[in-house]
């Protein structure tokens, strides 16, 4: 992140943008369009949520020519005061989230200003912003960025009466391409709707097809609280990094002030165990000393990190969202308890397995395959699936064990929630495969997988039973007729009686099987082991 600031100083903003396109999410014609949609939609959702308004978002992509589109995003948020329009949309790296230790959507890309910049570079045209606070006055302007000074440039300002609340933003984009499929804005919007069940999203794609994702829950998610890093799992490198920028005057106070769950008693305890004096300046910490602190921390217990800094989607919300959009026959939703990975960063893994209905990825009329949807802080990750911890965790699960095959019509939704997402690569589209992260995702998947597996085997048994019942019915008439003939009795009487006997037996087996199912609380050995290790490792009171 320091590189970005440096680059910013050395080059003009336009050059910087061009040089860092890859990193900013504008690599490739298809991805660039999706990134632009992402930036505006994220902005819109954040604006609504921060104001406590249930989002109602409108997204439209119009094709204007070859590789030339117009993107329109409108929200029902509080609107932006006239004075702040420029700052909000026309200033790159303003209000940067890089130094905030808080769960947020906008860790990817560089925000709405990036789209304004991209639009300007590719079309030479400004972006149109229309906003109102809902007071009967609408403000409109054309916005661009002065590339020399990195300041917003506002033209053609207008104010007129009208009914509106929120922001409507329109940018033209060139050198981008709309193409259906996994990387399309269509898919991005669909997945965004899935993990934001409190939002209503109306989307019109370049083929003029309108899709409305209705709101599934009427409750806004809680706003995450900012927090500090947790000592457990900090690396020497992390510690030195934090020490170099702290305002605390001694190492001891640095530990207490800059980290969560480090009381002065705990700091004292650390001070007693290390071989050097912790009253020195944090900036003077040597590598060896930092290493020593880390070692001591590893042997001590700390209270687990506060979890109110993390706001997962929530079981109920996910359930409703999955029902709303995938209309599954069966679903299993798992929310793991909070865990931490290297650097003391708390995170929560959520998994939804959705089976049947619209679940799975349709390959042809008859065939479908498992669909994997990755999210980080509710933001869909569409690209770089191969390098992602989520993908690796999914691949490490033995799905066969749960009667799940490659062609099972199933969607896997995984949301990684954290104050800091350890992205790999420049695109910020995949999560680093930290051991703890892999473990948590795998556990959640196994838990959900087992639930689905139980359902599937029950369903299979039911199908089998029904097939058998049908078979019995098929053979009853001839059997009854022949026995009646031999015994000199009425075939109808025998037929009815036989049916009754078969039905009774059928019900009996069904009862037995249900009982068996309930008694069978088989826990995967592997899962048990991982769980036990987790308990052992995390003995933080």
């Amino acid at each position: 992140m320091n590189d970005i600031h440096k680059g910013f100083r050395e080059y003009s903003i336009a050059e910087f943008f061009k040089k860092n396109r890859q990193m900013l999410g504008y690599s490739g014609k298809i991805k660039s369009l999706t990134t632009a949609v992402h930036e505006y939609v994220t902005n819109a959702l954040d604006a609504c949520e921060e104001a406590g308004i249930l989002p109602d978002i409108f997204v439209k992509i119009e094709q204007l020519g070859n590789e030339h589109y117009k993107l329109i995003v409108e929200d029902n948020g509080p609107g932006i005061p006239k004075k702040l329009v420029g700052k909000a949309f026309g200033s790159m790296l303003a209000g940067t989230k890089f130094h905030r230790f808080q769960q947020a959507r906008g860790q990817q890309g560089i925000g709405a200003a990036g789209v304004v910049m991209f639009s300007q570079i590719t079309t030479g045209k400004p972006t149109k912003v229309v906003t109102s606070k809902g007071n009967g006055v609408i403000y409109e302007c054309l916005l661009s960025i002065d590339v020399k000074t990195n300041t917003p440039k506002i033209e053609a300002e207008k104010e007129y009466p009208g009914e509106m609340r929120g922001v409507r933003i329109e940018s033209e984009l060139k050198g981008v391409k709309y193409q259906k499929g996994d990387y399309s804005p269509d898919e991005y919007i669909r997945r965004t709707a899935l993990v934001n069940p409190h939002a209503k999203i109306t989307y019109i794609n370049p083929n003029n097809l309108t899709t409305i994702y209705d709101r599934a829950v009427e409750k806004l998610p809680k706003v995450p609280k900012p927090t500090k890093p947790h000592p457990k799992g900090l690396t020497t490198d992390d510690l030195l990094g934090y020490a170099s920028i702290t305002k605390s005057r001694t190492v001891k106070s640095f530990l207490v002030n800059d980290f969560t769950r480090v009381s002065s008693a705990k700091a004292e305890e650390i001070a007693k165990k290390v071989s050097f004096d912790m009253n020195k300046r944090p900036q003077d910490l040597t590598w060896e000393e930092a290493e020593e602190i880390i070692k001591v921390i590893q042997e001590m217990s700390f209270i687990a990190p506060p979890t109110d800094c993390l706001i997962p989607i929530g079981k109920e919300q996910l359930e409703k969202a999955v029902e709303n959009i995938l209309e599954p026959e069966f679903k299993a939703i798992i929310t793991r308890p909070p865990a931490i990975y290297r650097g003391g960063v708390p995170f929560i893994v959520e998994v939804a397995l959705s089976y049947g209905g619209k679940s799975g990825k349709q390959i042809s009329q008859e065939e479908s395959k498992i669909e994997l949807m990755r999210f980080a802080n509710r933001v869909p990750l569409l690209f770089d699936a191969g390098a992602c911890a989520i993908t690796k965790a999914v691949q490490s699960v033995e799905w066969k064990r749960y009667k799940i095959r490659e062609d099972t019509p199933m969607s896997i939704l995984i949301n990684f929630t954290s104050i800091y997402v350890p992205y790999t690569g420049a695109g910020k589209e995949s999560i680093a495969d930290e051991e703890e992260i892999l473990k948590e995702i795998k556990l959640a998947l196994m838990d959900a997988g087992r639930k689905l597996g139980t359902y599937l085997s029950g369903r299979r048994r039911k199908e089998e039973r029904e097939k058998r019942l049908k078979e019995f019915m098929k053979y009853i008439p001839e059997t009854a007729k022949s026995i009646a003939k031999l015994a000199g009795k009425d075939p109808k009487e025998i037929e009815e009686k036989l049916k009754q006997i078969v039905f009774e037996k059928y019900e009996e087996t069904e009862k037995e099987e249900t009982k068996e199912e309930n008694e069978k609380t088989e826990v995967d050995e592997e899962e048990k082991e991982i769980e036990e290790n987790r308990l052992k490792e995390g003995e933080e009171e």
Partner: protein
Amino acid sequence: MKGVESDKIALKRLKEFGQSLYEQIKNNKPPSFKMPTRTKANIDFIEGDRRLKLGERMSTRSFLNYSHTRKFMQSVMVAAACEDYIKSGRTVGKRELYYNLKHSLPNSKQNTFEDDTESGAVLNDLEASLNVLREQFHVIAKGRGSIYGDLDLRQAGDEFSCKGLGRGGWVIPGYTEDVEFLNHNAEFILAIENDAMMGRLIEEKVWKKLNCLLVTGEGMFPRGVRRFIKRMHEELKLPVIAFVDGDPWGFYIYSVLKYGSIQLAHLSDRYAVPDAKYVGMTMDDIDEYGLQNVTEKLKDVDKKKIKEEMEYPWFKHSKEWMNQLKKMLEKGVRLEQQALANKSLSFVAEKYLPEKIEAGKFLP
């Protein structure tokens, strides 16, 4: 057994069968019936007795057992049909029975019977379960196999001789209970596996040279042929000598002739000829008659069958037979009857059979 009496017994058993099933259904019980278990595990082979005997074990066929349901329906269908045949005084062939009962099942692509092995199998089950012969059910097997030799017979009012029939013989029908023996001039019965060999022996007038009756089953001896051999053996006091291929299949044909089969173990008394002897082909013939060039290599199925047979008690307890099976595995070859033609066409008639039979070179 006179026809009328036999019919009465069969009808009575069928009625009891139907009533028992009806009572079970009436009492809310899944209908089922028992039959002797006809598997190798339930076969006793008593050395002194020298035939296959069914053990005590019984199997139950229940309508509510998913794997039995279809067969259960087929069993009662065949039973009801047989009742019809008996009452109307008609007799049907095995294949007729199949066509008579075959029709489609409701809401299904399946038929009541898909082929005559299905109807044949449940007919065997009913025979065993009700202790009634299929002939008593008025179902007879298609005739297969023939007899040639100096023997006069009467059947259905016709009198005829089994010699002077050109190259063929008299085709032995599936039902032979009504055949009367008139005159005969023979010292033994030669039971031949292969009908081409039968033709060779007729042409070479072996029946005259060796003074015997030639019988073939064209492969495995069918029930009609076995019953007819058994009757000739008992009523005409003629010893039986088997002449089959020197391979596990020939050995098995011989063992069925001698001891009975697993499927029909409950009827061994009617079919088995425990005194039967085996003249050839044997593994020793290969060296004895210089037939090394006309052996055939064993296939995997042959080897599998040999290993199976080594576990059959009637082979297992016989030193001579185990010796034969072991030799066959060691040499890895089989020896067909017709391999003898390698010496000359008349070799079998002029040298092989006369020599071996006169010297009494038999396997037990």
